[in-house]
Amino acid sequence: MSDAHVHPRPRNPLTRYVFSTDHKVIAVQFLFSGLIFFAVGGLLAMIIRWQLAWPWRPVPILSKWLWSAPALGGQMPPEFYNKLFTMHATIMIFFVIIPILTGAFGNFLIPLMIGARDMAFPKLNMFSYWIMWPGFAFLLASFFVEGGPSEAGWTGYPPLSTDPHAAPGSLNGQTYWLLALLCAGISSLTGSINYITTVVMLRAPGMKMFRMPMTVWSLFITALLQAFALPVLTSALVMQLLDRTAGTNFFSPVGASVGNGPAVTGGGAPLLFQHLFWFYSHPAVYVMILPGMGIASDVISTFSRKPLFGYKPMVVALAAIAGLGFIVWGHHMFQSGMNPALGATFMVSTMMIALPSAIKVFNWIGTMWGGRIQYTSAMLNAMAFVSMFIIGGLSGIFMAATPVDIHIHDTYFIVGHIHYVLFGGSTFAIFAGVYYWFPKIFGRTMNEGLGKVHFLFTFIFMTGTFLFMHIVGWHGHMRRIPDPTVYEFLRAPGVVWMNQFMTICAFALGLAQVPFVLNFFYSLVAGPKAEANPWKANSLEWTTASPPPHYNFEDLPRVFHAPYEYSVPGGEEDYLPQTSPLPPNITLDPVMA
């Protein structure tokens, strides 16, 4: 085999498990660090919810060692609340969802699903994981610097974020926050260059682009999104960093001064940061949902025992979401002082992006239609992904409509929307992916019973937690306020009741993750050994052993068709691996499959 990427499996445990260049090990590293940060981010969310339900009531235990202000009687200082949601969002977006979806699933699945022995650049791959660590370090260190961590929101709008006099968190914490994000950005960039190159160059014989599983397609398109959008965020973060440290004037207007601070020369524009930030961060939303769509497509097709409905239209829809995703960023800025004519333009493009999303939902339902649905934990989570993504997608239309957005902008409606997409969407997809590929990753099977218990409570309490955010949102509940009762219209008993209900559900949602954690770690050490293809699925990763050997495949597989040939008439089994040719009597529809 002339494959340049075959190298002997390292014997030294340090290079084998820690500084490994094996894509599977790196994937597991991403998965574990992502899940650990998931717990941290989740705990921050619990404290946020506590404060919203019972404003200023001291949090048991935590209030003593998280903020030591005996003068306030254990009350949470309002700036601490700002830090909480800033760090919650930052951690969840940049250190949980993106690393798990692209880092863990991308690394593990891309080479296995296209039949490659490893990534195109294994060392670069290792670098893309380890560059996350300075990011982790900066993020955690920011909790201990003077002024505490950043409190300018995950959007970090200047001048709040650039002027050290504007907020305690902008003293030093914001610099650490920027450095952490830059590290995460470099990780994503190197990762995405690696993924694209791997997908383009290292496909197994016969693996045409239109024979790749949807997961690979989605990760490929995600990588393209990141490669083209992320550098713009990098430039914005760099400019903000220079504004903070070198005294440049990009984001402060003429003679700006905050609080008691001195006036700066200025001349820049705060809006510019928002433009550059959202030029990346809107595509970032798709970075967080597209891989989920890919995972859901594969899981749903496998457990419906039926070909994916409209494989090629699904790919086109993915590409359309990504392409349109670059020209819709302005819908985050309708009320920002942006030129209203520009707002009208962005409204049209934003409305249009709902279209490919709708097509995908219809296709998923079409895939299940007429199938033989097997209710595994993975399938349940994937179906929840579809169900919740419908809500997340539809609520997006409210914000796309500029006049309606005037009222609901910066309210809990937005918070509800983003959580339906990121929890109802991405997180359910992550769970689906973990249940589905756990046997392949670790060679052991997870417990289905615990998995279903986990799903049941997660699904119920997720709805309970996030549904009412829409309602309090359109009632006018602003986001990012620690105490809604300052306002008369938010002091209404109905609003208070909803806030408390959401908080209780959020705690239950947190507790509902306990079965998952138990299941995960128990199965890791004591789960029953998994067979090579426990789900009787078609794609290439199931043709090799569980867990895959160091080179992934004994011999590089030869691919004959797309991975969705389930229940082919006349077949002995109800699945047909990609390495087996189609029966001669079957011809595929060139437009659909």
């Binding site: 083209f228 433009h275 030129n339 520009l342």
Partner: protein, 132 residues
């Protein structure tokens, strides 16, 4: 191939390769391009020197000259001339998005609305903008 014969020129396998190799071998195009770049640089210098007070033609001409220079470097030195279509598939979207991003910044930072004040008559002309 061993190190010893590596220094020998490769025998082109096909006429197309032979033509391409000949293209690469001769240094004349590179030196010609360098000379063209030199002329363009001098041109830019002179252009900027003598048209410094008329911003319209200055910007138009300089952008044209600079684009020509950049295109020459990319086309010949970066071998875009010899590259396959896929390279344009990578660079094209990046340039397109760079263009879209810059273009969509214009309404907010360049086409500034008229200053606010008391209801101004429609023909405000060269009214000075208020400060601060």
């Amino acid at each position: 191939m061993t190190e010893a014969d590596a220094s020998l020129p490769i025998v082109p396998a096909t006429p197309a390769q032979a033509a391409a190799a000949a293209d690469v071998e001769s240094h004349a195009p590179y030196l010609k391009i360098l000379f063209a770049l030199f002329l363009l640089t001098v041109g830019e210098y002179l252009f900027a020197r003598f048209l410094k007070d008329s911003p319209g033609p200055l910007i138009f001409g300089l952008v044209l000259l600079a684009s020509a220079k950049a295109a020459l470097v990319a086309w010949y030195f970066m071998h875009l001339k010899y590259e396959r279509f896929w390279v344009f598939l990578v660079i094209g979207p990046a340039l397109l998005m760079a263009f879209i991003l810059t273009l969509l910044l214009f309404p907010d930072f360049v086409m500034l609305p008229d200053p606010l004040g008391e209801p101004v008559p429609a023909t405000s002309g060269e009214a000075p903008r208020p400060a601060g």
